[in-house]
Amino acid sequence: MRPEVATKLAALPVDERRLLRPLVDTSRTFYLIAGTMGLIVLWGITAYVLQVVYGLGRTGLNRPEYWGIYIIDFVFFIGISHAGTLISAILRVSKAEWRRAITRSAEFITVLVLGFGAIQPIIDLGRPDRLLNVIFNAQFRSPLLWDVMSIGLYMTASTIYLYIPMIPDLAIIRDAGIKAPRFYRFLAAGYRDTPQQRATLERIIGVLAIVVIPIAVSVHTIIGWIFAMTLRPMWHSTIFGPYFVMGAIYSGIAAILIAMVILRRVYRLEEYFKPIHFDYMGRLLLLFSLLWFYFTFAEYLTAFYGGEPSEMRTFWAKLSGPFAVPFWAMVLGCFVIPLSLMCRGSTRTPKGTLIAGIAVVIGMWLERFNIVVPTSVNPRWDMESVAHYFPSWVELSIMAATFAGFVLVYMVATKFFPIVSIWEIKEGKEQSVREVADRVAGYLPSEPSLEAAD
C-alpha cells in the first residue's frame, strides 16, 4: 500500500476503513492463489481448443450417453447462482435486518457464477460456431430456447440488481480517492447521496428485489423442464421444475456460507459476519435440507410405486446398481451431514456451517450427476446396449477451469468492490435500529395511558 493511500484510508470512518482495506491492500498469498487459478483456467482453455479442433469425441460421451459433465456443471452452476439474487431479494423484501452484511457477497456469487454456468451448454455444443442459429432460427417450442431467454433475462436483472445497490459505495470510494479515480467516477454515475437520490435509489432497489424473484424462479424451473419435457424415464416428472428451484436455492445458500467463512477469515470481517449470521443462515440450510429430503423422497417413491419397467431400470441403477455410490454420497451430503450439523445450535458456527456448506455443494453436484447420467445410460429402448460413461481428461480439465475461473473472478471482484455493503451497514446503524424498535412496538397493543388520554 502506498503511504498516501494509507493516510487517506486511515482518515476514513471505521466501517469504510475496514471494508475498503482489501481494495488497496493485497497480500502475496492473494497473487499466489490468483496465479494458480489463472494457470488452471489456461489449462482448461487448452483442453477446450483441443475439443473444438478434433470434435466432441475428445470427451467420454457416447450414444446414448449424450450429456455429461458439461450439462451437469451447467445445472450446478446456474443453481449456485440462485444464491445471491434470490436470497438477498427475499431477505430484503421480508425486511430481515440481519441481511445487511451478507447481501453483497451473495449477489456477487450470482452474477459471477452465472456466466460460468451459461457457457457450459456452449462448451457442450458440437458446433459452437453456429451458436447464433439459436437467434436466427429460433424454434420456440424447444425448452432450450426458453432457457436461453430466461437466463439472458436473469443475467441482465441480477447484474442491475448487483450494481444499483452498490452505487452509494462506489461514490464513497470515489470520494475517498483511494483507487482508480476515473473508474469509480464513471461507475458512481454522479451519485452524491442527497436525500432525494437516496430515496430514488431505495425505491428502485425495492422494485428490483420483487422483480428478480420470479425471474430467478423461472430460470431453474426451465432448466428442470429441459429434462422433464422429454419422455425419458425419471426425467419426465412434473416435480422437476420446483425440485430444481429448491435444489438451486439450497446449493446457493451453501455457497454463500462457504464464501462468508473464507471472506471473514482472509479479510478479517469478524465484526460483519457474526456468529448470529452463521446461525441464521444455518437455520435456512436446515430448512432446505428437510425440503430436499421431502422432494427427493416424493420423486423416488412415485417412480418406485408405479413400478414402470423402464423407470425401474434407472431407479435401481441409482439405488443399488452402478450409480449407488454417487447416489448414497448425495444423500449423505445433501441430507445426513447438513441435517445433523444444522439441527443443533452448538454446530451452527462458522466451522459447522462451513463443513455443512461443503457437504451440500458436493451433494448437489452429485444430485445433478444422478439426474443426468443414470437416465442417459438407461434409454427407454432396453435392447440398446447399456452404455458407460467416464469423463475424459478434457472434460475434467474444463470443469476444473470453470471452478478456478469462478474463484479467480470472485477474488478479483473483492479487490475492486467492497464485499460488504458499507452504506447499508451505516444505514442499519443510523436508522434501522430505531425503525425496528418502532415497528415491533407497532405490532403490539398501544399503551393504556394513550387510550386514557382520548
Binding site: 466432441l56 449424450y66 457442450d124 458440437g126 424447444s142 436461453v148 429441459i226 419435457m229 422429454t230 429402448w381
Partner: protein
C-alpha cells in the same frame, strides 16, 4: 399428400444385415474404428438389433431391423432449438445438417435412440472414398444425423415420373434398405394409398408399432413373429 411408411415382417428377417450395409453405402455413413465403436460411437441409420430369447440350449435368436420411426408426432422435432430437425408434409423426419448446432437434445428426446452424433470429422476407408453417393450430403463433425427414408431417392423418382409424364408408382421410390433385403421383409410405400402394400399390411393382425403408448405415432410397423417360428 402421401404419408410414407414402412412395414417390417420379423418372420422374414434372417438377420443378414444387408439392409444395414446398403444403408451405410447409400447414405455415406462414416466408418469408425473398432475402439470408437466399443465406446458406443458407431453410426447405423438402419441397424439390425439382436436379442437372444430363452435359456441354453433352447434359445431363439430374434432380429429386429431398426430405422428411424419417422413419427407423426416426433419428440425430436419439438425440442430442437434451431428447427434443424423437421417433419415435412409427407411425414419424413429430416435433419438440416448445416443448421444443426450439435446440442444433442433431439438425441436425448428420441425414445427409439435413432439419432446419431458426429463425434469426429467423418472418415472412410481409402477404397470407399471414391464411391461416395453424390446425392447425399456428407455430414461435418459436431452435428446430428439420422435415417431419412432415403428421401433423395424420392426427389429423383418424382423427377423421372414427371419427365415421363406419369404418376409416381410404388416401385419408383424405395429406400436402399428395402431394395437390399433378400427376403422381402421390408415393405415401403404410402400408408394412405390403398394401392400400396403397406396400407394393407399395417392392418395385419400381427402389425404393431414400437412404444405406441408414448403417442409418438411411428410410421414404421412391425409384423410380429408367428408362434412357433
Amino acid at each position: 399428400m402421401p404419408r410414407w411408411g414402412m412395414v417390417i415382417d420379423l418372420d422374414r428377417c434372417t438377420g443378414c444385415g444387408a439392409c444395414e450395409t446398403a444403408c451405410k453405402s447409400e447414405n455415406n455413413v462414416a466408418t469408425v474404428s473398432s475402439d470408437q465403436a466399443d465406446l458406443g460411437r458407431a453410426t447405423a441409420w438402419m441397424r439390425v438389433m439382436t436379442e437372444v430369447e430363452g435359456e441354453f440350449p433352447n434359445t431363439t435368436m430374434r432380429f429386429m431391423p431398426r430405422p428411424c420411426m419417422h413419427c407423426d408426432n416426433p419428440p425430436c422435432v419439438k425440442v430442437c432449438p434451431v428447427a434443424a430437425t423437421y417433419i415435412n408434409d409427407e411425414g419424413i423426419v429430416g435433419q438440416i445438417y448445416p443448421r444443426c448446432i450439435g446440442c444433442r437434445y433431439c438425441a436425448n428426446a428420441c425414445p427409439y435412440t435413432v439419432k446419431y452424433f458426429n463425434w469426429f470429422a467423418p472418415e472412410w476407408p481409402e477404397s470407399e472414398r471414391a464411391h461416395l453417393n453424390p446425392d447425399v450430403s456428407v455430414r461435418p463433425k459436431g452435428v446430428i444425423e439420422k435415417c431419412t427414408f432415403c428421401h433423395h431417392r424420392l426427389q429423383k423418382a418424382r423427377e423421372d415420373a414427371r419427365a415421363e409424364g406419369r404418376e409416381l408408382r410404388e416401385a419408383d421410390y424405395q429406400p436402399a434398405c428395402v431394395d437390399a433385403c433378400p427376403t422381402g421383409a421390408i415393405v415401403f410405400g404410402d400408408l394412405d394409398d390403398p394401392q400400396h402394400r403397406v396400407a394393407e399390411l399395417k392392418h395385419d393382425a400381427r402389425a404393431m408399432r414400437l412404444m405406441e403408448d408414448l403417442g409418438t405415432e411411428p410410421k414404421v410397423y412391425y409384423l410380429t413373429p408367428r408362434a412357433g417360428t
